[in-house]
């Protein structure tokens, strides 16, 4: 069988099977939180506007915040109960996030839902509005509003939908369990997207370290119009949008462009499952599968309500095994650190990893020995060595124009392989932020 791959990349934590062994064989378990704190800025775009106030009773799936601006999405209550607070909290973003806190009354009462019906027969033009109303945004980590991805501007031709089931990040097994246990949801979601966009070809892409998932998805996809399964070589960052498109289709996303500029739409498999729920059952996005791993007593794959506090998620896995030194959402390559364990699980959080004090230690930088590993590791073929030198010399223009730092996807591969422990990715993130701010000013 052909295995899709790309030039560059790394194989992180190879000797511990990418850290996935901890949760690989743990079936998805639903845990319903007593309290949820739902941020208004889970998606990229303007934060949603709360439409409930303290003391209101809300039902599961009830809209509690309206979409704002061109790329906003609404937010829904993930439990039934009483709104106890509408206030700002420090989450994983730089600025505090407005949050709606709801105390669960345990009644699990749903609002009236308006399903569209079977994905093969539902009115195709109703699907994209339904996806927007369901508050769906990219669940692989980026959280870009999905209805925008599904609505390319006039003149853009999208011919392929790629479902991203690579899950190349370390520690995470949420997508794997979802594909294994509920493959029909994933396939239904893909078909809904294909029909809504009028695309004839859909490929579900899975790394070859998940043969069970490939098998389950292949079985569920049998006989479905235009649906293929693609096997990817296990390699990081195979699940990066740009790398996935290059691996499977041999196309490159033009610099500064979007996947649709390469004629492709890429969606995470979890997003596809949420789309299937929105179309078939009319359910908005109120829960997601999240891998809880690292220094917790019993690492697990949990189906969590959006807004579950990190400490409650850890508690559901037996609590901390050791005093935490670092907590981040996502895998160890690109995970975003939480300031404390009272931050909450958002629509994009596929993992929560706890490190003890030892693993949390930051390394000391030593002199670069010009070994070139960073250059070989870069999946977008940049020169991290040169970029770091220019960064230290403050040559940001050089970095932007000659070295194309803005194409850096911040995957962390260069930092991972660096034997001198150079802080490469943090430097490039900083440079990108400064250059972006400069561009905004102009």
């Amino acid at each position: 069988m052909r295995k899709y791959s790309f030039r560059g990349g790394i194989h992180p934590l190879r000797d511990t099977h990418e850290g996935k062994e901890l949760t690989r064989n743990k079936p998805i378990r639903e845990v319903v939180a007593q309290v949820v704190r739902i941020p208004m800025d889970m998606h990229i775009g303007a934060p949603s506007e709360p439409i409930v106030k303290k003391g209101d009773r809300v039902l599961i799936g009830q809209k509690i915040a309206e979409a704002v601006g061109g790329i906003g999405v609404p937010v829904h209550a993930s439990v039934s109960g009483t709104v106890t607070e509408v206030a700002a909290y420090q989450m994983m973003h730089k600025k505090p996030s407005m949050c709606i806190t709801i105390e669960n009354d345990g009644l699990e009462e749903w609002v009236q839902l308006a399903p569209l019906g079977d994905v093969e027969t539902a009115a195709a033009d109703k699907i994209i509005p339904a996806v927007k109303e369901a508050g769906i945004c990219g669940m692989g980590g980026a959280c870009f509003p999905t209805h925008i991805k599904m609505s390319p501007p006039a003149g853009k031709v999208v011919d392929t939908v790629l479902l991203n089931g690579a899950e190349c990040e370390t520690f995470l097994t949420a997508d794997f369990r979802l594909m294994l246990e509920q493959p029909e949801r994933v396939v239904n979601g893909l078909r809904a997207v294909m029909r809504a966009m009028g695309v004839k070809r859909g490929i579900i892409c899975i790394e070859d370290n998940k043969p069970e998932a490939i098998q389950a998805i292949t079985k569920a996809a049998a006989g479905r119009e235009g649906v293929e399964v693609g096997t990817l070589k296990t390699k990081y960052p195979q699940g990066g949008e740009k790398q996935l498109i290059y691996s499977v289709l041999g196309r490159e996303v033009p610099a500064g462009g979007l996947p649709m500029d390469a004629g492709v739409v890429v969606l995470n498999v979890g997003t596809a499952a949420a789309i299937a729920d929105a179309v078939i059952e009319g359910k908005p996005l109120i829960s997601r599968v999240t891998t809880i791993s690292g220094a917790v007593a019993a690492p697990d794959n949990l189906l969590l309500r959006i807004g579950t506090l990190l400490k409650d998620a850890a508690e559901a896995c037996g609590g901390y095994a050791k005093e935490p030194g670092k907590i981040f959402v996502g895998g160890s390559m690109t995970g975003v650190c939480a300031p404390n364990d009272e931050a909450s699980i958002s629509k994009a959080n596929n993992g929560l990893v706890v490190f003890d004090e030892k693993d949390a230690q930051l390394p000391d930088e030593s002199s670069c020995i010009r070994c070139g590993r960073c250059i070989d590791a870069c999946p977008v073929w940049l020169n991290p060595y040169q970029m770091k030198r220019d960064y230290q010399l403050g040559k940001l223009d050089e970095m932007e124009k000659k070295l194309h730092v803005m194409e850096c996807v911040l995957c962390g591969s260069c930092s991972y392989v660096c034997p001198a422990r150079q802080y490469l990715t943090p430097a490039f993130k900083d440079a990108k932020d400064i250059i972006t701010a400069r561009r905004m000013k102009q």
Partner: protein, 314 residues
């Protein structure tokens, strides 16, 4: 709860400068052992002095300059060992000591320490010593275990012998060339040991094949073109040792793979040019140093196209 916040990646490879240097030392072990076996205890002394002098020079320099003592990264041990392996076994012991001190202080530390030197320290030290004390540096002992067959090829002088390159000896059995039954420096004679080291470094991915293959390949091809025996060209003198252990030095060779191919090609070509038309019978040292100087230029012109530098899809 005291949580750290940082940008990813949060876990890193276990490989670091020290482990890489340790792998190079492991790769040098067969060559070192072969050198001591062939030339006797005398060779062991030379190597010991070279290594100790290198580490000591680095320690003293860093201490005097009030810098962090980084001798634990083992890079000075590697440099010292390579300086020693580049010596004839019978050399006076102050020569390897001086060589190591030059390599560490003049070439490495004065330019900013590890990673900042533009020439291979051991290579420069050898060139310096070769230019200053040519007689001492080229008085090669014949291996103690030299077989009778080869003895005939080099004459009866058992104290010092010219390398096969000087004598232009053609009748040395291939097995002697491979196993090291020829005169030469401590490290360069036993080709089998060098190749074992190369295989180890390739397997543990400390170096890639590009520089050694292009270096040796070019020497073979060009030697054949100028009418010498390509096999003798590769297996006599320091081509293999240089290509495997010195041209592959991270700091002083290009970082891009395409650049490394050009670098290897250049080294190989320079060796044959020096051997054929230069004053020296051996050209590996100067070839590598010459290409070291060209490394920044090669790096500059061997950049790859960045992902996404394509036209937009309709």
């Amino acid at each position: 709860m005291n949580l750290r916040v940082s940008t990813g990646p949060h876990l890193l490879t276990r490989e670091n400068t020290q482990t890489l240097m340790l792998d190079v030392l492991i790769a040098l072990a067969p060559t070192t052992a072969a050198g001591i076996y062939l030339f006797g205890l005398r060779a062991a002394w030379v190597l010991c002095v070279a290594v100790i002098a290198a580490v000591l020079s680095e320690y003293i320099w860093l201490k005097l300059m009030k810098k962090t003592i980084v001798i634990g990264d083992l890079s000075a041990v590697v440099t010292g060992l390579i300086v020693g392996l580049n010596m004839p076994a019978g050399v006076s012991l102050w020569i390897p000591a001086l060589g190591s001190a030059i390599a560490i202080i003049l070439v490495k530390q004065l330019f900013g320490g590890i990673g900042h030197n533009f020439m291979n320290p051991a290579m420069f030290a050898r060139a310096f010593l070769l230019a200053s004390w040519p007689a001492r540096m080229t008085s090669f002992l014949l291996p103690e275990r030299l077989l009778g067959t080869s003895q005939a090829a080099f004459g009866v002088d058992m104290i010092s012998g010219a390398t096969p390159l000087v004598t232009k000896a053609r009748n040395i059995p291939l097995s002697d060339l491979l196993l090291g039954n020829i005169p030469g420096t401590i490290g360069e004679v036993c080709k089998v040991a060098i190749l074992i080291g190369l295989v180890y470094m390739l397997v543990v991915k400390v170096v890639s094949w590009h520089v050694p293959v292009f270096f040796v390949g070019t020497v073979a091809l060009m030697s054949w073109l100028v009418g010498s025996d390509p096999l003798v060209a590769i297996l006599s003198g320091g081509v293999l040792f240089g290509a495997v252990f010195m041209a592959t030095d991270y700091v002083t060779n290009p970082m891009q793979k395409i650049g490394q191919c050009i670098f290897g090609l250049g080294c190989g070509a320079m060796v044959v040019i020096i051997r054929s038309w230069g004053n020296y019978p051996e050209g590996v040292t100067y070839a590598i140093l010459f290409m070291n100087c060209l490394t920044p230029l090669i790096d500059r012109f061997s950049s790859k196209r960045v992902y996404g530098m394509v036209k937009k899809h309709a």
